[in-house]
């Protein structure tokens, strides 16, 4: 087996790991804030729960990128395709936007959402705005996901052409 397949798998694994870590930190941060608000006012559980869910998407995106990649290179089917080191590195690079973007956006979305929890605590009627502020960070996770998916699909097209 060549190094190519190893680089490709490593890329997928990093996308899943860092996306998951970003989400875990983000969701954990919001969870602390949300618990603080619910300790004082349990009726706000629904509103703060939405904010806590928001930073969880990076982990899903990382999983999606890893799943797509593993399917494309035949790992999921049990018959991996032959890849040169250069092709493997191309797949590796394709996963980096999701890995790095997922980690950083997950952490910062968590902070934005936790600040939003504070806003909900003081002014529950402004919960929509709190969600929008946190959701803005999502843009960059989505961009990272798109570029990783586009790159994986097009690298496959180049290799199979």
């Amino acid at each position: 087996m060549s190094y190519g397949i190893m680089f490709a798998v490593l890329g997928g694994v990093l996308a899943a790991i860092f996306g998951g870590v970003g989400s875990a930190i983000g969701v954990g941060t919001v969870g602390r804030s949300a618990a603080g608000v619910v300790a004082e006012d349990p009726s706000k559980f629904g509103k703060v729960l939405i904010l806590q869910i928001l930073p969880g998407t990076q982990g899903l995106y990382g999983f999606l990128v890893a799943f797509l990649l593993l399917t494309r290179i035949g790992i999921m089917g049990g018959s991996p395709i032959e890849l040169t080191s250069a092709q493997g590195l191309m797949y590796f690079a394709a996963c980096l936007p999701m890995a790095v973007g997922g980690l950083i956006s997950g952490i910062h979305q968590g902070k934005a959402a936790a600040a939003g929890v504070g806003l909900v605590a003081k002014k529950p009627e402004e919960s929509g705005k709190a969600i929008i502020f946190a959701a803005m960070v999502e843009t960059y996770a989505v961009l990272a996901l798109l570029i990783s998916i586009l790159a994986i699909f097009n690298i496959t097209s180049i290799i199979t052409a």
Partner: protein
Amino acid sequence: MRETEYAFAVARVRANEPALLTEDDIGLLISAENEQSALRILADRGWDEPADGKDIFDLQAAKAWDMIERSVPDPALLEAMVIGNDFFNVKAAIKAVFSDIDPQEYMASPCLCDTKTVIKAVTENDFSLLPDYLAEYADTAYHRISGGESGQSAEMILDKASLEKRLALAEKSECPLLTDIVKLGAVLSDIKIAKRCAHTGKKRETALESMCPVEGLDIEALVRAAYEGKEIREIIADAGFTEIAPLADGDFSALEMKCDNLITEMIKKAKYDAFGPDPVVAYYYAKLAEIKNVRIILSAKAAGVPTETIKERVRSVYV
């Protein structure tokens, strides 16, 4: 400690902030017909009458402290906020014991050392019962009074130790807001000591020994100026406390009020922080300021003080 460690505490503080009295509430209290009307307004704003004969102010302070104590992850921050009350309790217990009155009703809370232990230590003259940070100073203060020295000299020992411990703990807690608040309190205390000692003709050395060193403040120059009857405002301004400097040569009540209002201005900056210890410290000091305001208003109402005079005495509010 990472600032996100405070996320739980900050969220609880934010959830409690809407219950703080606003400027409008204070205005309503001031314009209340009498003390009973003011108490009814307070009851409407969540100031419940204590059921167990506890003081209404103690109950409010205890509720705020209970919330903070259960939420803050750094014990150093908690200690820095209340350690002053331990020294106050020792002072009150010593005074009460020598005056042959019950010290319990003079005890302040929240505190780190159980008040019963403080009273027992002072009553039995056994200061080994107290924690290390209190024992030495309590022992010295007690024996100064029993040795015939004035109660004021014992007070000075405990006040200085209190400020030094608060400053050290505030710095350890890595909360610049708390450090600034404690420093301001130390400067105010130093000004009072220098002027009082000069006024009562005490030795300069006594004044210097009783003052708490504050970074940037030249306490020797302060004492010199106070004893020579010169203005001290420049010394205070040079130390970086420009906001209170213009009032440093005036009467203490105006200076104290300025310091209280300055603390409120300082804590207002933490209103928009989502993490870190500052919002918690801000809430605690906001609650203390609120209690002080209500105390001023209720006492004034009970004494029939005119509304305009009450307005002049009331401190600015956080929300």
